[in-house]
């Protein structure tokens, strides 16, 4: 995981914020560039089924039928389809990352526009390494929809491409297109485990691979085995692949083998899952010391395994020019009274207090947030049952041992994890993720898969809100029993599986953008997998819900016998306050209705650029309702609202 790291201490420094001069700098773009290198050879483009059909012959007709119902791809086409899927995925999840597709072993040669093709014969740059754009996606889509044109490109050359050339082509692409990227990866998809038999050709491939390693490019091969041939990576590939930085990597599932699959479809699925698993480069959130006891410190790294993905923000666009352009907004800071521009050296940070400002020096500013060195310090252990469901503030962090700074970290970490699993314990720890980060208390719980541990940030007493006042009425047992019947019917024994619930708002956003960008029809129907399965609910629990309804009517009737309706209870309980209480409630409701309408109004005005035409009162009300400052002149208010929507 740390080749990137060793290559660029910048990333490390940003993580650790160790030295004074550097801490606030966003050191290096945390961007990824992935180049797919797909081999084109007779076996890679062979129509599926040649070898499959042989064993299908023996299989039942049912099996055969099911195969024919699904599309069947050659290995090369399957690889291209994987690349397409990854491409679309990355547009949503990491829109700033680059991707490219290089075919090698092709009869045709194409390498970038205008550049001489002589240097990289039999390499076909299907998609240049860049942030994907609509035309290139369209072109790829077109190829995949038109088998004839695809097979023309996928025509293997008589003589296989030189691996040294392929690797140098990749080197060139990464150096020119993705210079200074934090993560650069070369995905090689091939079924040829011994491409270079000639000694000098091998040597130059090995040299070129070494160049890539020194450049910080990581080679991630995906090997395709066939039922008749098991891919042997020791023949060639272990000479060009490197230990990726950490000692632990010999323990990593390095090269995914797409093997053992007997038919083209499952091979495609396997390849797909192997590639999706690697589509996002693993980025460590922090490198940290974990203090298990006094004088016993090990090294760990933290990763975010769950992070909310939101639709990309909107941009201002200039349409008047020759081509569309993104408008860049620049903020100038001016002194309110004199309208003079303020230079950074004259800016001071201050807190508002008692109508005035309380100022601190930069030094004091840092100091007041400093609670000691970054550390994960275990204070002791408690049963996991002590962790309440509501003890949650934000997403968890996955931690995994690192041998980089402390040897023996992995075994010690593993021993701790074993113990926590065996005794159902959790650790309680003081956690400072990086220099001057706010310290939090965190629970440490072991994770079965992936193997490691999770940090669950706990609330402080200041973060705990009080309960609202609600009359206490407990349901009678017969009603609870009926509800249990409902719940049993709607039981999902496998638990919550996120993969089954794509984010409908996000999906729609990108489906529409995709359709507009690729000039396709807008999708009419949109499938929302988060909606409950009403048919199933009705079928399995309809009757139970009706029974529960009857039971509830019964329970309410019984309840009314013992206690009058709540209005009266409140009447007496609240006494003289009741009148004002009701009034307050009404007023509240009106206020509630307000923001909803105001929201629409403001949004509409923003969209039409007519915020200026609204009154100050309306703007202020809205800002206050959003918890933003409502001070300043009208222009300020408008600006603040605009910024709000822009960043949305």
């Amino acid at each position: 995981m740390s080749q990137d790291k060793k290559w660029n201490p910048g990333a490390d420094a940003a993580d650790d914020d160790d030295d004074d001069g550097r801490d606030e700098t966003d050191f290096q773009a945390l961007k990824d560039a992935t180049l797919f290198a797909i081999e084109v050879s007779n076996s890679m483009v062979a129509p599926p089924g040649q070898d499959d059909d042989m064993d299908a012959e023996g299989g039942g007709s049912r099996k055969k039928k099911s195969r024919h119902s699904k599309p069947r791809y050659s290995s090369a086409e399957a690889a291209l389809r994987c690349a397409e899927a990854v491409l679309k995925n990355r547009i949503i999840s990491t829109p700033n990352d680059m991707m490219g597709i290089l075919l090698f072993g092709t009869e045709q040669t194409k390498y970038g526009e205008g550049s001489s093709n002589i240097s990289y014969p039999n390499c076909y740059l299907l998609m240049d390494l860049d942030i994907p754009d609509a035309p290139s996606i369209k072109e790829l889509k077109y190829l995949l929809d038109n088998p004839d044109e695809l097979s023309e490109i996928l025509t293997p050359s008589k003589k296989p491409a030189s691996m040294a050339n392929v690797l140098f082509a990749a080197n060139h692409l990464f150096t020119t297109k993705a210079a200074n990227f934090n993560s650069r990866r070369l995905f090689i998809i091939t079924d040829n485990d011994n491409p270079e038999t000639d000694k000098s050709a091998r040597a130059s491939a090995q040299t070129r691979a070494r160049d890539l390693y020194d450049l910080g490019v990581r080679i991630e091969p995906f090997f395709i085995s066939s039922p008749t041939h098991q891919f042997d990576k020791t023949l060639f590939y272990t000479d060009i692949m490197y230990d990726t930085g950490e000692d632990t990597t010999e323990n990593l599932p390095d090269a995914e083998e797409v093997s053992k699959a007997t038919d083209a479809e499952s091979r495609y699925n396997q390849m797909m899952s192997a590639i999706t698993a690697k589509q996002a480069p693993r980025r460590a959130l922090f490198t940290l010391k974990m203090e298990i006891g006094r004088g016993l410190t090990i090294g760990i790294k933290g990763f975010l395994l769950y992070k909310r993905v939101t639709p990309s923000r909107s941009h201002y666009i200039h349409e008047q020019g020759e081509k569309l352009q993104i408008v860049k907004g620049t903020t100038t800071r001016m002194v309110e009274e004199t309208a003079q521009e303020v230079t950074p050296d004259r800016i001071r940070k201050a807190y508002k207090f008692g109508g005035e400002t309380v100022t601190f020096s930069d030094e004091d500013f840092k100091q007041m947030r400093n609670f000691g060195d970054p550390v994960l310090r275990i204070l002791g252990f408690k049963p996991q049952s002590e962790l309440q469901f509501w003890h949650n503030m934000r997403s968890s962090t996955f931690i995994y041992p690192s041998e980089e700074d402390y040897t023996g970290s992995t075994r010690t970490f593993a021993a701790l994890r074993n113990k926590l699993i065996a005794s159902k314990l959790m650790g309680l720890a003081w956690f400072v993720a990086r220099r001057n980060a706010a310290p939090v208390m965190t629970a440490i719980i072991p994770s079965l898969e992936p193997q490691g541990m999770f940090l669950i940030p706990l609330p402080f007493v200041d973060d705990i809100r009080q309960n609202p006042e609600i009359p206490h009425i407990v349901a009678p047992n017969h009603l609870i029993d009926r509800m249990q019947d409902v719940i049993r019917q709607l039981h999902m024994p496998r638990g919550y599986i996120p993969e089954k619930y794509p984010n409908p708002a996000l999906q729609k956003h990108y489906k529409v953008l995709e359709a507009i960008a690729l000039e396709e029809e807008l999708p009419e129907e949109f499938e929302d997998k988060t909606e409950p399965k009403y048919k199933n609910i009705e079928k399995h629990a309809g009757q139970m819900i009706r029974d529960w309804g009857d039971s509830l009517a019964q329970a309410m009737a019984d309840f009314r016998l013992t206690k009058p309706a709540q209005v009266e209870i409140h009447g007496t309980k609240r006494g003289r306050d009741s009148a004002s209480g009701a009034a307050a409630k009404k007023a509240k409701k009106d206020a509630d209705a307000g923001p909803g309408d105001a929201d629409k109004e403001i949004k509409a005005a923003y969209d039409k650029n007519t915020l200026n035409k609204l009154t100050v009162a309306v703007l202020k009300d809205w800002l206050v309702s959003k918890g933003m400052s409502a001070s300043g002149k009208k222009a300020d208010l408008v600006e603040r609202i605009e910024e709000h929507f822009e960043n949305k």
């Binding site: 020119t176 693993r282 021993a415 994770s447 309960n467 609600i470 988060t530």
Partner: protein
């Protein structure tokens, strides 16, 4: 919480308050003021206009109150600050007035009457929380004639009276003054009786001062964030068999954020008052235009449309089309199904937690939800639901668990990830090791030995927290969230308040120990023996920084092949190929010895970098040059020849000059300037020197 409040502090300023007692180095008044300033600044920091304060001094030099004209019982009592919102000017004003007087004349009980009078006139019959806090050392005159009327008044207006005395006896707190004067003893008894009779609080200052060390948590009024129906089934299709309960949602946890600092501008003139000026942000909009001077032109607001990026492609979406991108929803809380609690992956939870309760005015809903809560509890299950908090907000998936407390029931909810929110990172298993050849090992230096595992088991068992009590509230279990204060929140509030009272002070006060008590292993757990055994069996070793550097360029591919041999020819040439500069530099730099060997390589790289910059169209090739620069800098540091880099970067600055000034700003942004002592201890470059190179002309 947001009730209006009026608090009158009645402070004893008699001459005797200026003496030091009980081996304290501060005077009685200074001691009392610690408490007073803390309270006042806490009130100021909430910034509420309706949280008002008055300060009355007694045993003062001279008199200033509205009752003294008609009654000379009220001499030597001064209203130092009338009731009103306290702001910085009031703080400054009060600070000047709070000194010990030259007299011990003045009656404390009369001062209480003045305070009562202030409150009565200010609050009238309106709804206010009324407080009077009396601070004294109890050595002066307290005339308890007519105290019954005063008590009557305090009770009638529901005033909370607090009396805090310097070195007053408090057996509960554990304080007794042994050499108490008879006058003081008498006053103490009478004041205690006064407090008892009007349900007031009587205490010793020591306890109050200790109390202010403990951060106060701010109560927030619960505000609902969703109102709607919790439903099972679809009402529009199967109205008869759809369950629907009126519910509301309130936060259970929410980060209490520290106050945020704002930016201000220093006055341009050398202003002695050091007033800061408000900054206003103005936004302007530009697009690139190669023909325009400065390569960009300003755009009018009216000429801008809105749109999104799809990859690199710009997709304009007009205001009218916004609707088609939007995912239309209606506020709802729909049950998707139920899952067993036992297998739930806690680590999936993404957000703070919220509670769901039935509408409070709807008995039927309360009853219905109660059955839902209890059924979930009894089946040990969680409910999975799709929630939309407001119309047209995007839906979220949530898990709901039951909470059943005495007199209170609710569901508690946290958000779960969607498919897109899960990152598919791979991690090697920790219980086995797979070698390159595919062999799976269960004995390896990464896998704990039996001895290590046993030592770890014993150590963890010895670190059981379940028998410890809370460090802040002994009634709570150790480490329970209710017992832990947010360090940053209270620290920042603390320093702001401290700085507000003493603006000229240098440095910051130390963080109060309460904020740090959960930062270290609790005393009471001291498993020395187990820890020693664990340390020994784990045998964890720090990797020296040097060793990390030594690895540079010596790595071998997985097969162990000696690539170095293959590179020999290239290395011997000592010529770096401009089309492959970084790898070749790295390979050569480790093959040479000392500064003399490295210098020509740095020089070659320098020429290559200059060439890249020189031929770059606009800033297209800058990244490539920056990357080369970073590599040289890094290797020069590792190989302890940072001087070579320093001299090159100075040279480069001259090279880029004015024409390529934008390149230099990249160097500055990426911090690729002079090597600092923090990077190599031999460097003696100061931050100023480094900044001079970055920013200087």
């Amino acid at each position: 919480m947001a009730d209006k409040q009026a608090t009158v502090y009645v402070v004893d300023l008699g001459a005797s308050m200026g003496t030091c007692n009980a081996d304290r180095s501060e005077t009685d008044l200074e001691y009392v003021l610690r408490y007073l300033w803390d309270r006042i600044t806490t009130t100021v920091s909430n910034g509420r206009k309706t949280d008002t304060i008055a300060v009355v001094g007694f045993r003062t030099d001279g008199s200033d109150n509205s009752l003294v004209q008609s009654d000379d019982n009220y001499t030597n009592i001064r209203v130092l600050n009338p009731i009103g919102q306290f702001l910085m000017p009031q703080i400054r004003g009060l600070k000047k007035l709070l000194g010990p007087s030259t007299t011990d004349q003045g009656d404390g009980v009369s001062a209480l009457v003045v305070a009562l009078d202030l409150i009565e006139k200010y609050c009238k019959k309106l709804k206010y929380i009324r407080n009077i806090v009396l601070l004294t050392n109890g050595t002066g005159k307290f005339d308890f004639d007519g105290v019954d009327d005063i008590i009557e008044q305090i009770r009638e207006h529901k005033i909370n009276l607090t009396v805090l005395g310097v070195d007053f006896d408090d057996p509960e707190f554990g304080f007794l003054e042994t050499d108490k004067s008879p006058v003081k003893a008498e006053n103490e008894i009478a004041l205690r009786e006064l407090c008892d009779r009007c349900d007031g609080i009587f205490g010793t200052v020591a306890e109050a001062v200790e109390e202010i060390q403990r951060p106060r948590t701010k109560k927030t009024r619960p505000v609902h964030s969703f109102r709607g129906h919790l439903s099972i089934g679809n009402e529009s299709i199967n109205p008869e068999s759809t369950l629907s309960i009126d519910v509301e949602r309130f936060p259970r946890t929410m980060v209490a954020k520290p106050p945020t600092a704002s930016s201000f501008a220093l006055s341009s003139e050398l202003d002695p008052t050091n007033d800061l000026q408000t900054i206003r942000n103005t936004r302007t909009f530009q697009v690139g235009d190669d023909d325009a001077p400065g390569k960009s032109i300003d755009i009018d607001r009216e000429d801008m449309a809105k749109g999104y990026l799809y990859g690199r492609t710009i997709v304009p979406i007009s205001a009218e089309d916004q609707e088609i991108v939007k995912f239309n929803t209606g506020a709802s809380l729909k049950i998707v199904g139920f899952i067993p609690k036992s297998g739930f992956e806690r680590s999936m939870c993404l957000t703070n937690s919220n509670i769901i309760v039935a509408s409070k005015a709807n008995d039927e809903a309360i009853m219905a939800l109660s059955s839902f809560i209890h059924a979930l509890y009894e089946l040990d299950s969680l409910a999975i639901a799709r929630m939309v908090t407001k119309d047209d907000k995007p839906p979220v998936m949530i898990a709901m668990a039951p909470i059943i407390e005495p007199e209170f029931e609710c569901l508690v909810e946290v958000q779960l990830p969607f498919a897109e929110d899960v990152r598919q990172y791979k991690f090697a298993p920790l219980d086995t090791v797979k070698t390159i050849t595919g062999k799976v090992l269960d004995k390896h230096r990464f896998i704990p030995t039996e001895e290590l595992q046993e030592a770890m088991n014993d150590y963890v068992d010895s670190m059981d927290l379940m028998n410890l009590e809370g460090l802040n509230d002994p009634l709570l279990p150790f480490g329970q969230p209710e017992d832990v204060f947010s360090p940053v929140l209270h620290r920042i509030q603390q320093v702001i308040r401290a700085r507000a009272i003493v603006p000229d002070e240098e440095g910051l006060p130390d963080p109060s120990p309460v904020l740090l008590n959960y930062s270290t292993i609790p005393t009471g757990l001291d498993p020395e023996e187990e820890l020693a055994r664990l340390r020994q069996t784990a045998d964890v070793c720090l990797v020296p920084t040097k060793a990390k550097g030594e690895k540079v360029g010596r790595d071998k591919p997985l097969s162990g092949l000696d690539v170095g041999k293959l590179l020999e020819g290239r290395i011997q040439s000592r010529r770096i190929d401009p089309s492959n500069p970084i790898p070749e530099f790295r390979q050569m730099v480790v093959s040479v010895r000392g500064e003399e060997g490295i210098r020509p390589l740095v020089q070659q790289m320098g020429d290559i970098i200059k060439d890249i910059i020189h031929h770059s169209v606009g800033d297209l090739q800058y990244n490539k040059a920056i990357e080369c620069l970073r590599v040289i800098r890094e290797d020069c540091i590792t190989l302890e020849v940072f001087e070579l880099y320093d001299s090159f970067i100075r040279e480069l600055k001259l090279f880029v000059g004015v024409d390529r000034r934008d390149f230099w700003s990249r160097v500055r942004k990426d911090r690729l300037g002079l090597v600092l002592p923090s990077e190599d201890s031999r460097s003696n470059t100061s931050i100023e020197e480094s900044n001079k190179l970055y920013y200087g002309r």
